[in-house]
Amino acid sequence: MHHAHTTKSRPIQILCILAAVTIATWLGIWLSGHHDSHGGHDSHMPHYWYFGILPFIAILGAIAVLPLLNKTRHWWESNLNRFFIAMLCAVATIGYMIFTSGSESIGPMLNHAIMKDFIPFIILLFSLYVISGGIYLSGDLAASPRVNTTFLAIGAGIASFIGTTGASMLLIRPLLKTNSQRKYKVHTIVVFIFLVSNIGGTLLPIGDPPLFLGYLRGVPFMWTLGLWPMWAATCGVLLAMYFIWDSIMYRKESAKDNKRDETQLHPLRLQGGINFLWIGGIVATAALVDSAKPLIGTDWTPFPYCRELIMLLFVVLSLQTTSKAIHKANNFTYEAILEVAALFSGIFIAMQVPLAVLGASGKAITETMNQPWHFFWSTGSLSSFLDNAPTYVVFFELSKSLPEGEMLQVNPINGVDQFVPIGLLIAISLGSVFMGAMTYIGNGPNFMVKAIAEQEGVEMPSFFGYMFKYSIPVLIPIFILVTIFFLL
């Protein structure tokens, strides 16, 4: 189980509380007088923008570097300290905006960052995290290539519906148990990361966080289902390749290990299955409840945050109907989701200036970067190393500068209709989801799977070993094919 990592520092606690209360108060005062504003970005280039983007760079830099340094690793383990850095970056962004645009710019900015992005985003993630943490699958099957491939196919199939994190956490333990008697299993875990922790989550906004941010920005809930040809082709190629790969590795196993594998069996057993019902509720809520339009078949328009309230209700139902033993078996704690909340509270504020910069300079950038494949590889390259959610948003906003081809109308900003080229949106969606598989840090579940596998005694490749032995040789050729067949 996870424990509190560090002694809490009172000054940091006080500063965090002060920053959070100040931001909340400012937002509250602004909201009380501006109920109908959409907030958002002006199209002019922010003054001294190069200072304005520093907090965004700083928070991404802190996330990348602080866990690696011996001197800061332990300090960074505390969610309070992460929140402190997030608030520092948020306050720096607010200070910059007051200095360059006046205090009246803060309310709309915070409304956009917190009310429209952060709260719906974190509540969806929280709901999926808690509910999927209540499902436990155990068992030990014979680890034949057919069984392993079936595991991966099921994972790739359900990742869109319960999220890549939920699908990964549900399936990784029984997959490891199934393969515990096998010597050659690293490739299975790696392809699991490719398929279940990333590519499988392409089909619905709840599959992967960047797609949900697209949904919050006005992409229709069912739009991502239209990505099924790319999803099916990529998953199909990977599964076929994996089956051949695993068949070769299976023959290398010793007869003794294979014998043990075939005799030490436990049938699959699902516990907490009722949580699939609550996840279905989350999917339906996300798809149907939108405070911007009437509920389908009625005249009733849901009130603001109705969707989030319903999701929280499903969380309560899940907690009420799930035994503690299941959470314990899943090693379930709230630490991971608290970490996401702590960091994204700052990221969403700090990224407002870079988004405004992109809004103002988008036309210049898109003079050279204007093809779907440009967006696919750019979004993907950044998503390989940075969190794919803010990366998606950055390129989503950039794509609005290219009013060419078939367009999709998304949420208006400041009352002005907004459109995104569909070709670019496909490329951005695929790039952010698919290429999250390129490294252990491309997507949260990648690292979780690696950590669980290592704890079960699998010698997983190093950060660069994963890239150079697996993701680059296997995925890059597949992504080139995706580019050729779907994006050119």
């Binding site: 990592h5 866990p67 690696l68 960074w76 997507n443 949260g444 690292f447 950590a451 704890q455």
Partner: protein, 275 residues
């Protein structure tokens, strides 16, 4: 005179063999044994870059690795103390925490001989550095050193790899002068590529060894040492390889071929290193 032997309790498959060799030598020389364990929290807790949302998993993995390492350490210490107790050898355990190479070198200062396992130091079932630490401590000057393989076999015959260089000469002299093993049949081998005349070199080396009462044979191999050293060792039925070693730069190693490195990474029999 060997009075204090330092043996690395590394938690690798070679640890048992290292302990057995150390006990044999301790009994021969009436020496005391120090078993050293090193836990390196910085390395164990370093799980690489972490994505957003992965910190809890990283923390758990770090804790798991620490716990696993501690278990392996206790197991290795138990194995060491039991073996020493059964053999009636005076012993003590040095539990170190910190940088593995630094700690081993700090303890080495007050010991006459260090015994480690080939291809792994202080891994404890967690770290997998594929022998890099062994090369680091050798490069840092940890000599004389006996690096042993997983299979324990009594040392009754030796092979000295000799190219006439000062490094090789120092290793050969240490092998004779330290009296670690009683004089045993020894083959002096020269390989392709050394300076000077092979026959003269071999004759001089054999003469030196014989003056220390080693019965000696000579062998000239017309191949580069990296290609032939381990095969020749098996051909000679040698239980011990004596060689000089110098740490070279990564580039130098690539250009020159680092025979010592190759032998350390691939040998299945003990290697005695000095310079």
């Amino acid at each position: 005179m060997i009075k204090r032997i330092l043996v690395a309790l590394s938690g690798t498959p070679c640890t048992g063999s290292a302990i057995a060799h150390a006990i044999e030598l301790a009994k021969t020389h009436d020496a005391e044994l120090s078993g050293v364990t090193v836990i390196d929290p910085n390395k164990l807790l370093d799980v690489g870059p972490i994505p957003i949302g992965g910190a809890a998993a990283a923390h758990e993995l770090g804790e798991h690795r620490m716990h696993l390492a501690e278990e392996h350490i206790e197991e290795a210490i138990g194995q060491f103390e039991t073996a020493c107790g059964n053999a009636g050898v005076t012993n003590r355990v040095l539990r170190e925490s910190g940088d593995s190479a630094e700690k081993l070198l700090a303890d080495w200062r007050y010991h006459d001989l260090t015994i480690i396992g080939l291809r792994g130091l202080f891994e404890y079932g967690v770290l997998h550095d594929h022998g890099h630490l062994v090369l680091d401590v050798i490069g840092a000057g940890l000599r004389p050193l006996l690096a042993v393989s997983e299979e324990h076999r009594p040392i009754q015959r030796a092979m000295v790899s000799y190219d006439g260089s000062p490094l090789a000469a120092r290793a050969m002299k240490a092998y004779c002068m330290l009296d670690i093993w009683k004089p045993m049949p020894t083959t002096v081998v020269s390989f392709l590529g050394q300076d000077g005349d092979s026959d003269t070199l071999l004759a001089d080396a054999a003469s030196y060894l014989e003056s220390h009462t080693f019965s000696t044979t000579k062998k000239r191999i017309e191949e580069k040492p990296r290609n032939a050293i381990l095969r020749t060792m098996e051909d000679c039925d040698a239980d011990l390889l004596v060689m000089g070693a110098a740490k070279r730069t990564r580039l130098g190693r690539k250009l020159l071929g680092d025979t010592a490195r190759f032998a350390l990474e691939n040998s299945t029999r003990p290697i005695f290193l000095h310079h």
